[in-house]
Symmetry: C2
DNA sequence: GGCATATCGTTATGATCATAACGATAAACG
DNA sequence: CGTTTATCGTTATGATCATAACGATATGCC
């Protein structure tokens, strides 16, 4: 087994001052999201669903039919992105689309019967997955994390 | 000005039980990362750099020359992904590559003079950006967030 | 030395992402 | 009523991402 090539860390030639990449929130958030996302895919990957796709289905389950644009905002996706996600879900018959009768601009998205069934199957798994992701934290820390993240996300 | 199409929220037809998408850490982390990332791009976007590209440069600045693979691990990117990032940075002459003399498998990546200069210009901006992202939090909360995120990322 | 195993980098595929520009439709307003 | 402005969805471009499969090289151990 070859050892991990740490390669004797070439001498740090520059004055790195006090700066460390690990101290940048963005970097930490990205890694934490990677972890959470992979936890989810590990569990629901057999359904061939990604985290954003699941979020989309879950939101439709909560809210019922929504315009594509509003749906996108409710899952934090740009119009161009939610479009692609909806197309994939539609191709798999998990959602259906129809034109809004009064506002011809809108495309209404809704879960199909199969979509509803799938979401109801997935929700317990997702809750379990969240627990796994949060496992390194104590109960009161979890609560705290939610509050802090909420503030960051809202700005 | 047309009102935001909330569309009178079609009646929630399913039993949503206690489930809410907002209660899933992954979703919160994704949104928080979106915020942090856009904060960074707002500030360094004029340099045509993305957050992952910046992270890559910053890591090289901290550590000096690294193999492409190790560099990838140190910025939390898969081999296939760090490859593309390095290619883009190389195209812009911010990094240079060379073969390792003793281990023919390795490609050593290092900052160019231009790369070093750019990083040193960007570091203060990035620190400022982190402060902006964390602005909604009090001092003690920031410290706490780091600890919690660190635990999540490490698993 | 020679074989099994591990690591490195590449390639290919498919899904996110953000951004800008665009036509179509709707609402606001004089 | 007609003009201006806003919103919706699309298209295009480019950058992340994860995953699997692959050849090349290095290391482990016999």
């Amino acid at each position: 087994m070859p050892r991990t090539s740490t390669k004797a860390a070439a001498p740090v030639r520059r004055v790195a001052s006090d700066y460390r990449l690990e101290d940048q929130v963005g970097f930490l958030l990205r890694r934490a999201y990677q972890r959470a996302s992979s936890n989810l895919v590990d569990r629901i990957g057999s359904y061939d669903l990604t985290a954003p796709q699941y979020a989309t289905l879950a939101r439709l389950y909560e809210r019922g039919a929504l315009s594509q644009n509003l749906l996108g905002r409710l899952v934090a996706m740009e119009p161009a992105n939610i479009r692609d996600v909806v197309l994939r879900l539609k191709k798999r018959r998990l959602v259906a689309t129809r034109r809004d009768a009064t506002d011809k601009r809108l495309i209404l998205i809704d879960l199909t019967t199969a979509g509803v069934a799938l979401v109801e199957q997935l929700i317990p798994i997702e809750i379990e997955c969240t627990a796994t992701t949060l496992a390194p934290l104590k109960a009161d820390q979890k609560q705290l994390l939610y509050e802090l993240l909420g503030r960051l996300a809202e700005g």
